[in-house]
Symmetry: C2
Subunit: 367 residues, 2 copies
């Protein structure tokens, strides 16, 4: 693990860069905005920890009413349980003997859920003897994992229902692609279609006499649409705590609240080779560019134009205030989840001072 | 740090995934191919460790004739020195008091070089009292860091030459963009133009009576062009040991040798939701997509079509042999450097058995 790039009490200018900076005021407002947006509804909030990979953040989500968290990997679940979180849903299929054995071990230490979409995988979970909440992952238009509502899905539900160790916990119904559809109208249509899949599966289960305790899913870009569609009992927003350039490109309108940028990559100008160009020390290894380049925050006329492994090229518009060698710039990452995964530490800042440094507990927890 | 996904003696099928797999036979052939290609020439090889971030690999490069390695970050240099490498060039500008202090500390433990392109940065290096080899980074067509040949660059050289602690070691002249120009002709033209910048600067230095011991630069995609241009004394290839999808798209012809794919992401099929689709457990957090998607290795008719954070979607062509749930696939990463940076461990494989597990010593060494 790399050394923390700052210590409590440091001023922002003293933070070694590149660093992952969490602006605590904005982060805390995002926590409250989500809680307020679902207040009074019969709804469980299970934020997605794949975004932050951090037990400290999960604890603050629980303090704001979350009933647990979800994640995508057994290794993430292990790190979160180790960090004190005792209700974790792996909202993903867990395939392969060593991983299932680890999931089984973890299920003795915490309340653990997992998803299935294939009878062979279910048989392997069953054979492990683990006591698990099992959700059927439903295909709801994302074309990734998941099984369509129908006889095969029902057979899977029956098999879980019959199981001695496994508990049929319900349905995982997440439409990931819908999160990034730009207009409210497109997202609304996608979630409406997803809801029809959920209703269809619930009817099949009801007819078969299998209770479906929970339908879980939804992300930061759509969750109020799922809530209003009436088919979900639990939501899994992740990115709302941080926001990123990609999410900011979405149209945001009621019923969704607006979240603020709270996560930044702090970078230093390491070269000023030309009047119209500054080079910063944050490139591909400091900010994931899969969903677009970072944005220079609140510095008019400065545009992040290109990333190489360890460098970012900033274009300086004519007339803009040019940054000097050694100046620090805040960048908003293009995509928060894979950017967080590049760091060992969150440097948590309030009023330009480092208030705390949190470990990215599950950084690189791939397995 | 995450647990290693395999142990020595495991079969490939037993490796937990996703895992970064180094095929040792191909890797060792790449080491020899590079050494053979420059045999008998008055040339120093200083491979780029930003690619592998691993002291074990650096040692093998030294055993094949390298005189040291280079890297981009002080934290990488620290990890490499800690791992037993005693000659490291930070082929980059190091800006900011804490970083320069660490570089100064490191210079007491090993032979350390660094680049400059700005008098203020040089003054800060000088003030640190560090004993360093200092190279002027020359702009040679890359439009990133660097200073153009001319009076300002000469003044920088004079200032280094006058310094008591700092030693003027020569010029850093690297054309990164040229590495990925697809045709030999384009790369040849780019390196010829870069060579003219180097010759111009050498003439200025000679006229000023300042010896220029070493011109260093060049990458895996061009290095023999630099050698033949006659302006370089030292080459810095990095990716040659691994190769990736992006480099494989280049035209490879004499004077450059061909290197082989030696680095893979091993993934498991975790869902088979449709006849034409398999989902693997390796997405954006397992393989960097900045230079394109991974390639499915030696499985005809299987194409990696899309990556989300933790998933990869594999399209199965009609008639292709479809992988079953739990099957393992080798993926060639789109871009090796930022992919390696996602992992804590190399799983080194020979004849389908794990021969060793090496730490990615400088993983996430951003500062």
């Amino acid at each position: 693990m790399n050394r923390p790039p700052a210590k409590v009490g440091d001023r922002v200018e003293e933070i070694d860069t590149p660093a992952l900076v969490l602006e605590l005021d904005a982060f805390e407002r995002n926590l409250r905005t989500l809680a307020d947006s679902v207040k009074g509804r019969p709804l469980r909030v299970r934020p997605h920890a794949k975004t932050h990979k951090c037990a400290e953040i999960a604890k603050r989500q629980l303090a704001h009413g979350a009933i647990g968290v979800c994640c995508q990997k057994v290794a993430e679940a292990e790190a979160l349980v180790e960090g004190g979180i005792n209700d974790v849903l792996v909202s993903n299929e867990v395939v392969g003997t060593p991983k299932i054995a680890r999931l089984a071990a973890l299920s003795k230490r915490a309340h653990i859920g997992v998803c299935v979409d294939h009878p062979d995988n279910l048989a392997a979970l069953e054979a492990s003897g683990a006591k698990l909440d099992v959700y059927i992952e439903l295909e709801v238009g994302m074309r990734r994992c998941g099984i369509a509502p129908g006889p095969a899905a029902l057979q899977l539900a029956r098999a879980i229902h019959r199981s001695k160790n496994l508990r049929f916990a319900g349905l995982q119904a997440y439409h990931g692609r819908a999160q990034h559809m730009r207009t409210m109208e497109e997202r609304h249509a996608a979630i409406e279609a997803a809801a029809q899949h959920v209703f269809e599966m619930k009817r099949l289960l009801e007819k078969a006499g299998i209770p479906c305790p929970i339908v879980t899913g939804a992300g930061s870009g759509t969750y109020m649409l799922e809530v209003e569609a009436g088919a979900w009992d639990e939501i899994q927003p992740g990115s709302y705590i941080f926001m990123d350039v990609d999410y900011a490109k979405n149209e945001w309108a009621a019923p969704l609240p607006r979240f603020e940028h709270a996560l930044f990559v702090l970078a230093t100008v390491m070269s000023r080779p030309a009047a119209d160009r500054a080079i910063v020390d944050a490139g591909l290894k400091a900010s994931s560019v899969d969903s677009g380049l970072p944005l220079v925050w609140r510095r008019e006329g400065l545009t992040y134009r290109g990333a190489s492994d360890e460098h970012g090229a900033i274009e300086i518009a004519a007339g803009a205030q040019a940054p000097a060698l050694g100046d620090k710039l805040y960048l908003v990452p293009g995509h928060c989840d894979p950017t967080v995964n590049l760091y060992d530490w969150y440097v948590c800042v309030r009023h330009d001072r480092v208030e705390s440094v949190w470990s990215v507990t599950a950084r690189g927890a791939l397995n």
